[in-house]
Symmetry: C2
């Protein structure tokens, strides 16, 4: 057990101290065994000032390359659309043997964006901690955000066993449960469990917003639990979600296509009063809910 007190990395640079990044900073500070020294990097001086104010990093800077040059691990926590550009900036500055990792919500296109910057002497470990709230920014982070949540890891040929083990240990110490899979499989699973639900929630809010003004004001008054849950999902950061949708385009459009077919079939069943079909589809939803409760995910 003594080993648990030895930091995984000497110096950890977290690029992009938003919801996920600042949660890692908070956890690192609370546990003391993720890294001996923690550097937070953001291109925005305002965000840097706020992180310094919050006191959740040993060092705060806008200079990503300088921070990367010091680090034994560089963790990219920027929106998925910015991963490529940020990697191009930091990887050339990294020390030989230092570990590169990212926390992007999509994997195939993030890996594609980062790949041109990769170096043979910098092992890269793509990850996706599946945790979040509808809030964003350095104030939104929580030290226990990852507690009992899944962190998916999609190792590549350039992922060394040693780097993988260190990143696994880091997330275990954040409280996460780990699972490894291929990047493509990751993207399909996340398309159905997370990206499509968000797309539907954004869409129904837009549909409601387009209604004649009288009905719209009543949507606000009478939001029953059904609609309210959708708006909670839909409250997330627009840029982050635009990036995720564009970044996971193929898998998301496939899942949306399947969903649209199913919704059309439901519409047809309602129009022609096909009770059995309607009840069967509703029963499936209940069955999944029941499984979630048994899996302690509900």
């Amino acid at each position: 057990m003594a080993e648990d007190t030895v930091p995984v990395f000497d110096t950890l640079a977290v690029i992009g101290p938003g919801l996920i990044g600042s949660s890692v900073l908070r956890r690192a500070q609370a546990e003391g065994n993720l890294a001996r020294k923690i550097i937070a990097v953001d291109k925005s001086p305002d965000v840097c000032a706020r992180v310094a104010e919050l006191g959740i990093a040993d060092e705060v800077t806008t200079d990503a390359a300088a921070a990367a040059a010091q680090a034994d691990c560089v963790m990219l926590c920027v929106p998925v659309g910015a991963m490529g550009a940020v990697a191009a900036q930091v990887v050339p500055a990294m020390k030989p043997g230092a570990v590169l990792t990212d926390v992007g919500s999509t994997k195939v296109s993030v890996i594609e964006a980062i790949s041109p910057s990769l170096r043979a002497d910098v092992p890269y470990v793509p990850t996706h901690p599946m945790a979040g709230t509808e809030f964003s920014g350095p104030d939104a982070g929580l030290a226990d955000l990852f507690e009992n949540r899944w962190c998916l890891i999609t190792p590549l040929d350039c992922t060394t066993a040693e780097a993988l083990e260190k990143v696994r240990t880091l997330w275990e110490r954040c409280g996460a449960r780990l699972r490894e899979m291929t990047p493509a499989h990751h993207d399909r699973v996340c398309a159905i469990v997370s990206h499509l639900p968000h797309l539907l929630a954004f869409t129904i809010c837009g549909t409601a917003d387009d209604l004649a003004s009288e009905t719209r004001s009543e949507v606000l008054d009478f939001a029953a639990s059904g609609f309210r849950d959708f708006t909670r999902i839909a409250a997330s950061d627009p840029i982050m979600w635009r990036d995720i949708f564009l970044s996971n385009r193929e898998a998301l459009l496939e899942m949306l296509g399947r969903f649209m077919e199913d919704a059309q079939a439901m519409a047809r069943a309602i129009r022609w009063e096909d009770s059995d079909y309607i009840v069967d589809r509703i029963e499936r939803g209940r069955a999944i809910r029941k499984s979630l409760i048994e899996n302690k995910q509900a």
Copy 2:
């Protein structure tokens, strides 16, 4: 204020002591000023036995007509698809001047179903208390289920001012906020705030359930908050929701049609990387969420 202790009705018969009906029973018992005597009616002897066991009514019976004959107010709390048949059974037995009311989640077709049974000497007040959980049955009721929730009332030509006032008072004493509107307008508002969200939630659970078994088991493992919220909505009673969908068919299909157009437009924007469109639609969701929070509905 002394008037508040005088029961609104002498005898209240609640037909169908499910989630809503048994919540009214519990509230009537807790407050003491909804009715002097409360009768619960269900066609199922098992449900009657359970209601008797729970001790939430003064009298419990399977004989709807006999209960209606005693009542000053008959409240129909059965699934919307059963409203017509139950009305045909109880209205002929009602005392002249006794009030008929229902709590159906759709109004146009429920009113249509009940209309053939109406009598000139029995005023009818259609209502829809917008409250609920994903649970059903007499054990699911809560005395404070209606607290600060909306109860929509859709008065008709056959609704006397006196009957309307009594039903209004009854729901006020249940803690509800009241709003009057036409049945058609009610159905459109509920289609977008409640019925469409439920339809989408059922559908996405079905879509997930149809995925290849490997991905499906991972859906269960990795249900992020997005999907989990959908399954909560989708856990509701299948028969009740089948009835609501069929009963509010026109308004629901119209709203679903609008939604599908919007979802197709979103799919197209993702395929062609139309960032501005995507961000605009996401922003609308956030704006609605913000309004809900300001309206204290979130």
